[in-house]
């Protein structure tokens, strides 16, 4: 009964807080935001039957910190490559990355991480082959990206979602 009424308690709670941050902390907005968050939860449960709640929250801060550092570094790298475009011998490349990660939510988070970080773009994931096609801006960094995904992000996401 409770799970049908509030299918995604964490997400609905966060949405309510988000609503109040964007508007104002008051009883009226708590009720309005709460109602909207419940509606969103129902809509989501009819779209996405698999539960997406992280099993292990302790890794999340480490993931965020690592991602933050990587985004700063790759901003610098890609900005420099764009500014020297034509004078450097940069070549972009397609990579095929085999993945151990199976959880759809984990894969979605990995897709956001890779695409939000300048320099890598998630192009395609194949369930059958369990591998990902990635486009990297600087082909010389191929090994670096393969290593980072395999040794850093994938294990963390597996810990969180599997």
């Amino acid at each position: 009964m409770m799970t049908r009424l509030v299918p995604y308690p964490v997400q609905s709670g966060l949405l309510t807080i988000l609503w109040m941050v964007m508007t104002r902390f008051s009883l009226g907005h708590l009720l309005l935001g709460g109602a909207l968050a419940l509606l969103a939860g129902w809509a989501m449960s009819s779209l996405h039957p698999e539960r997406a709640t992280p099993r292990n929250w302790r890794v999340v801060p480490r993931l965020i910190a690592t991602l933050f550092g990587d985004i700063v570094r790759s901003n610098i790298r890609v900005a420099r490559l764009i500014l020297t475009e034509g004078r450097s011998d940069r070549r972009s490349a397609f990579l095929e990355v085999p993945l151990q990660l199976r959880s759809p939510t984990g894969l979605a988070v990995l897709a956001i991480i890779l695409t939000a970080t300048p320099g890598t773009a998630w192009i395609e994931y194949s369930h059958d082959r369990q591998s990902l096609v990635l486009h990297v801006f600087d082909g010389a960094e191929t090994d670096h990206y393969l290593g980072v995904i395999r040794d850093v992000y994938e294990p963390m996401l597996q810990e969180i979602f599997e």
Binding site: L18, V21, M22, I71, V72, N75, V78, A79, I82, L83, E85, G86, S92, F94, E96, A111, I112, L114, T115, A116, T117, P118, G119, T120, A121, W122, I123, E124, Y125, S126, H127, D128, R129, V133, H135, F137
Partner: protein, 122 residues
């Protein structure tokens, strides 16, 4: 008298620095978008604007607004979160569409074996 007149120097400097950082990265991203030759390369340029380009501007805005209102203003972080989670969706759609087209036209060394097609890998 502008409302910015009473902003002290110790705050004005980091705010100006963050705005400059964000707008410069956005400009570099736009420049790359204009100049890069291949479609797949152009996918990377706007991520400069959507990561620290946005980040610099929203942090500056949050700092200044918090000072002027006298309480922490965090609305901007929601903008950042929204951009961070929605930009990849657009870029992935564009990337996949380009890949699909290039494979159909035989321009790209195709993926090792072809199991593409919408729906199949969802």
């Amino acid at each position: 008298m502008s409302p910015l007149d009473d902003v002290p120097l110790w705050l004005a400097l980091p705010v100006a620095g963050l705005v400059m950082l964000g707008s410069t990265l956005t400009l570099i991203g736009a420049w790359g978008f204009l100049r890069l030759d291949s479609f797949y390369d152009r996918l990377h340029a706007p991520t400069l604007a959507s990561s620290w380009g946005t980040g610099g501007v929203i942090l500056a805005s949050a700092l200044l607004a918090s000072f002027q209102q006298g309480r922490p203003i965090l609305h901007e972080l929601m903008v950042g979160l929204g951009i961070m989670t929605t930009v990849p969706v657009t870029l992935m759609l564009l990337g996949r569409a380009a890949l699909h087209r290039d494979r159909a036209e035989g321009k790209l060394p195709p993926a090792p074996d072809r199991d593409d097609g919408p729906g199949k890998d969802e």
